[in-house]
Symmetry: D2
Subunit: 329 residues, 4 copies
């Protein structure tokens, strides 16, 4: 349930306001250099996205609890833990009765019979993505010839992102955004027809990123308005290079050697400073809800390193799987 | 690789121009009434979509090979096979050298070292979805209180679907489309945070449908242009009913009791009658390619019953999984 | 539930007195030569074990339904089906009320709410092992440098096997036996510590063989009576050769390059000609039960090719998995 | 690889001489009371087995890192960590060159390309079973009506266990043993035919216990010497009670409501004080090896709580799975 992958597998655990958030990576090959410092660049990109955010500042210090010896992976499971340093759980006490619109407060309460840790979203919190980013750093090391690059291309419907975020902050509101991902250097042949298609696996991972509402590969939703004559990418050399890339680098679920391209829609942050209406389960009536503290005005700002990490997890797993189909008998 | 599901599991097999296409359903509870006739309504919807299509007519006669006794499921694996009756493999001989643009001819050839069955796309063919529709019929029987309804809402960029298809046929071209899905009657609590989110599982299944380029839940890509104030669905009663449904029926990966809504983008059929350009691996040059026979002018027409089937597979599995979290200890 | 393996995966289906028994092999590499004739040697060993058996004679004709093209595996799922030719279901009508001692009649009835196909054991029947033997033939082809050899070493407590079986037949009784397995040519390094140990995976597969009561590796139960000084296998060269093989070729769950050795205990056939006592669920009393027809006097005679097949399934999967840990980064 | 279970899943991590050993339990239902104190009884049984052992004393203090809120499970993953307090890694430096007979030093080195943490066996160490015992405590809480009871019934070939262990200590040697397990209170219907048989799943888990060489259910290896007439357990009432229990509580892979019985063979501890011979990979010759420190004279003494834990993991998972087959449609 909280794990992903077939050979290169990750298992997350932790809570927003508990001891911390962690991840175990199982199936990582031995011999990869790894130290705590390797995580900082991507972790800092994740933090840097947090414009107009909560005053909660987490140092995001990774503690490697297992799987590393003499500075290298051993082939045994790698567990990385991020201790929560800066939590104020009192902020959330009133949420037991009043589920926040757009959050998992209501669904989590019903699903887990009221036993879920509701503080800051508990196990549902985006705090958990800190471990996913860390696992992505390891996955990227397994893909030295592949470049995964994700950027926020639009926020609040505008490409003038800074201004759109500033306006949202000023309005005590929040905005969504579009994040794109481009992967270069992939070999032909990753993925499988049907359920293990590259699109199936990437979308599976991407919808695990909180606030994701849609994904499209290559031409995406635009394909619905195109003709076959326009949409078909003509193959122009023996390596499979195409003269356009509406396919987004995938045919029949399998990488075709061209760039893998996809775009992800991120909803506006659910926590906003404006008063909202929600059912109060104590009073039995719809009441006004005021969410304390400040929050990310645009969570999409933080998404690029998380999206790269998810993509790297999928591709590292597919690269390991692919070893076998290449086997000459 | 060719299987899906955790408790209610399906495994597909077969080829477009081989003996036939089949599916095995493992994990289906015992005692469900099932006969060959039950499959016909959805199979016929899948065929009926085939306007302007290949003269290949398949009767789609399901043969139940195992798992049924005295007209009911036994709890043992159910295998259903559809024998191919109407294949003309000669049509495809020239594709060994010239991979068709938009198809998996090139990726399949490289991935499987030239051993793939290239006739009609072989194992990559949408012919395989006949088994998936059959499995969906069984899954729907497991969800008696849940209504899954999918329709083609737009083709070639137009809601005037018949005319758009007729024009594509007249142009020797093909068009894409948008298919929506609406699920009513879901309980609160299906799905999990992160990788087993309802969106993750449904998108995983949906991208296994050939020609799918995108998926969006609820507000989808529109969410990127909205503010939190607009997007948040306010909870207005103790059952979790919301006054809008931008979430598409899911919060934190878990069904919230409102309708599950999503939309899927389908690309135009890759096989078109117009001459195209592609690499010829025998001559070593880009040559003209003419694809013989006629083909679906708009594959999106066939997608609704397949999309319903994929959705039913995911939901049946989640319903079985959910039995456990409700367990009182 | 009815599947096994992680990369090289098998899924069984079928019944003793239904249409037939089959298996789907998913994850088999492309390019392996395969024809229906390849299965006959191991299938015939399985039949040949049937001394003193039921007059039911099955031709065991494999029908390859998918996954083969031009005489070779394509990388797509391979389904093989064995149609039942010779069934007399009337023999089993009385078993609905009276579960046979030693069989799954009672447990199958309760587990599946009375919907199980009880004829000849239905899906529980050893008839299903015909597909497993077929999958084993493919797995063996993937292991060209590895020899898997299984023999019946003892029946009814005696190494004079023919005489012991003849006596059991004369007594209208049945006997158990011990089957050994020896695997030569394994590389060092297959398997994992803990749950994916070679012993874990082989025992998992072996206990799927009907009538199996125990398994031991190397010294096995004898180890319990030994000292460490006696039991430790000393390593005598750089290849890891040991001067004894109490380990049975495995240390820490991982093959050590010496022969893999294990032994399996098979119980006497449950169906015997002597009248027995069992609960009659119609009369509500313990009644005499007479099992019609004749049955294998010693099922252990048939086990060697099935045990080889199960071993080959595990090893083929481990060989594919092992590709990745050898990856140089 | 280092995980086990389908719904109730465990993932282990850690090393003998690293930071510690841990386990994550995913899929545990919400609402089970749990505190650090609950682990002590079984952890102390595991320690108490350590007669004649290493002077290394570990306090085995469990740290619950996630998944518990207000003293109850939340439904989110539970991670429990045991920090290593008492390690002297210098003891193991000479093992890089000289793999210990009977240990995984050689196989681990080859498999992981020399990157494995060799100190005290690293990730192969029985130290990891501390987490398994902890997960077993939680699994047992999920099975309130089921009693799992395991005892050491024989050591060094003798039932006079204390004397046998004392003699082994005096001899600077070690001895093996037989551990039995008896499970009472199981419902009819857990498990599946073939690969998810109760025997398959339990043996899979049990061979993950270091030093296990064999397992037998019910009559076990004795069955090979019996006749069907002797071996068949007659059903004597409508609940499925049998007048003997050679089946060990399982028919056709499925629990039959009688006691589940199995026995496990444990080899003598590989580390002994006597000088031994092994290949020295530095000198390229077979040299004498002296293993420093003292070690368990009989690891079988520690096995009962670990065996109970493994059994509980399997049964908790099967109980959750079984919810679905009981579903009335």
């Amino acid at each position: 349930m909280n794990s992903f992958g077939r050979i290169f597998k990750v298992q997350i655990f932790g809570e927003s306001h508990g001891l911390g958030a962690g991840i175990t990576i199982d199936g990582c090959p031995a011999g990869i250099s790894l130290s705590e410092n390797d995580f900082e660049p991507d972790l800092s990109r994740r933090r840097a996205g947090a414009k107009g955010t909560t005053p909660r500042k987490e140092a995001d210090l990774p503690e490697i609890m297992s799987g590393i010896f003499n500075g290298k992976t051993t082939g045994a499971p790698i567990t990385i833990f991020f201790r929560n340093m800066n939590t104020r759980s009192g902020d959330y006490a009133n949420l037991v009765a009043s589920p926040r619109p757009g959050h998992a407060d209501f669904t989590g309460k019903i699903k887990f019979g009221g036993h879920n840790d509701y503080r800051g979203g508990g196990h549902f919190s985006a705090r958990l993505t800190v471990g996913i980013v860390a696992a992505g750093v390891i996955a990227k090391k397994m893909l030295p010839n592949i470049q995964i690059s994700s950027v926020l291309v639009e926020a609040g419907g505008s490409t003038n992102i800074d201004q759109a975020v500033d306006k949202a902050i000023a309005d005590h509101n929040s905005i969504g955004g579009i994040v794109s991902c481009n992967v270069q250097g992939l070999p032909v042949g990753l993925g499988e027809p049907f359920w293990d298609s590259v699109e199936s696996l990437i979308s599976h991972a991407v919808f695990a990123i909180p606030a994701t509402k849609g994904i499209e590969f290559g031409s995406g939703f635009q394909a619905a308005k195109m003709t076959g004559w326009e949409h078909n990418d003509n193959i122009i050399d023996a390596a499979g290079t195409t003269d356009s890339n509406y396919a987004g680098g995938i045919n029949g679920g399998i990488t075709n050697g061209n760039n893998l391209l996809f775009r992800v829609a991120i909803k506006p942050t659910s926590s906003i400073a404006k008063p909202q209406k929600t059912m109060n389960f104590e009073s039995g009536k719809v009441d006004e809800l005021i969410i304390q503290g400040r929050h990310d005005a645009c969570v999409a700002l933080r998404v690029p390193p998380i999206l790269e990490a998810m993509t790297a997890l999928v591709l590292a797993d597919l690269m390991l799987l692919e070893q076998q189909t290449k086997r000459i008998l």
